[in-house]
Symmetry: none
Subunit: 189 residues, 4 copies
DNA sequence: TATGAATGAGCCTTCATTCAT
DNA sequence: AATGAATGAAGGCTCATTCAT
């Protein structure tokens, strides 16, 4: 019978995630997180070296899970368009769950805070790249077939468009997904 | 022979714009702006009442000009797709000039600081709405014709997609525009 | 054997009080208070949410204690004039201890900054009112007996007169009190 | 026919007085004064070396006039109590007209801002002294006759009490004056 | 490990005063 | 004398991070 030991690190992770989702990076301070976990501020720093890393970690883990699912879909044997729809559904769900954090997708290299070296933008780059690798396995229409940048661009467009749909029209999930499919399928065979 | 008088207000405007573009709203402080203009911090406040207004002003002016152009295009007598291309070119140019500021798009609904409510998000709402009004005059494909939300969604998707293209692939302007046209034309007749 | 733990909150309270007494509200800044306590500015804000609250707190606590004493006196069974002397002694002592803070009396109605509305004036109103309630239980001379404003006016006059006596003639406590008694007893039976 | 030349110095004086009356010393800034006079801020400094001197000047001139009147009354041949009533009426009127400035009466030596050497408190000392000289010529009741500090104390009490009456009960002028007479006459023969 | 008070650099904004024109 | 833009020191407050217990 396993002893119920509170997994503080997880606790922090989840609480911070909720807060970041609701208020965004700058809208959350370490005290809020600590309070939500019922621990002291100092304790946070026993598990995560700083606010930035904590945020980054949340971002990474959130998407790791998503990528697992995307990979599975990718291995299925089905037409690209069908795959793409499944793709989009998974991405939509992820962003829907993460709300606020989703927005940080739009912080790329340029918008990094100059003083604090937050490498969030860097993470986004990785996210886009990973996503594009998956997309690269889908067949494109002739016109785009030989364009080396099509995959990364599709992944970028898909992600930011999903984010804004989730944010601006949260009630219309199904329709949003349909739009997004139509949108991306423009390029898919 | 034009008098060479330094137009401080313009100076501030431009310097601030560059900085906001590069570092985002939160990444810029009034001292940075003042230093970039070689003026004292206090001087900034002779021209703009506060940081938020300065930013908002940059945003507004940037887009005012753009809307003038978009309106002109809208009145032209030509097929929707042609119009749309011209549209996208204008928008692309605007965002290209303003770069990073585009990212503040994220300040829409959810992610506004609970405490310091700068009304940037409010501005973005207006921007999206105005844009969608213009788009509403273009004929959509049958499938989308009776969807009341299509215009606003197209404007949202167009804007965020343009922002990310400009940001991530600044060297491929022509190709980006082509993609964006293909993307949006998916919905246009 | 009492533990010698520095009570920071008390420390701040006392230091701030001394400074406010000496220099008035506007003459004191948070840095001065912090320096007097040998703490960082930020620490102040761990104990009091802002300068105004800190000041108000000092004001309130100072007078809370005083009102307890005044109430006790009020319940005694003795001629009004005797009561009044006891009253005045207590008030004099309070003001003597708090000195300069008394001057903030001026923050009543009119002279409040239009912009930064600290509610010191509001507090003074309450103070005057409470005081007048106590005074109302004392018998007035016939001439003033039916005047509804006599109590509040007496409390106002008593307080400001005490403040100025304490301030201008700190060495003559006994004589000051005698004057004040004569002054107020003009109206008391 | 005298040319109508705007007396700028007088203009500044009057505008500043009105503003100081309404908003108090700290509630008025040089720009407000300049705007009220329709002159540039810099121009103010051609007439008054700084804000403090301007304020002081207003204070002095305001009271100079009052002292002229008080002196006249003092020379009249009438019972002390009658004189005193006339006295109080003049003082009441002065303070009533000056409202906000009246309050600065209560800034005595202690409450001077430490950094800026404002000698307002100093002025108040002079005011009290002058006033007490006038009062000294009135006959006191036996009990107080040989008290060297009675005159200054009476002047202090009279002034601050008048200020608070004017401020707190502006509608009851006549009654206020009656109270003040009763109050001070306690000491006058 | 946990605590949470302490830190202090940093931010936005104000305003009396100066000075080139 | 008049102008009013420019100055920059201050002031109130925040918050990521540290550290003694």
């Amino acid at each position: 019978m396993p002893k119920i030991i509170r997994d503080v690190k997880k606790d922090i992770f989840l609480s911070a995630m909720q807060l970041f989702c609701e208020f965004g990076y700058d809208g959350v301070d370490m005290k809020m997180i600590a309070e939500k976990c019922n621990i002291a501020v100092g304790t946070l720093y026993n598990y995560y070296p700083n606010k930035n890393e904590l945020f980054l970690n949340i971002l990474k883990v959130s998407w790791e899970d998503t990528f697992l699912k995307l990979n599975k879909i990718n291995m299925l044997n089905m037409p690209s368009k069908q795959k793409m729809r499944k793709f989009i559904e998974v991405i939509y769900n992820t962003i829907e769950k993460r709300r606020g954090i989703g927005w940080e997708v739009k912080k790329t290299k340029r918008c990094t805070h100059p003083k604090k070296d937050n490498n969030i933008g860097q993470f986004m780059q990785v996210l886009f790249t990973d996503m594009s690798t998956l997309i690269s396995s889908m067949e494109k229409k002739d016109k785009y077939q030989h364009d080396p940048s099509i995959d990364i661009k599709l992944s970028e467009i898909l992600l930011v468009s999903t984010v804004i749909m989730v944010d601006a029209h949260p009630q219309e999930k199904q329709k949003n997904i349909d739009y997004l499919c139509d949108l991306i399928n423009t390029f898919i065979l």
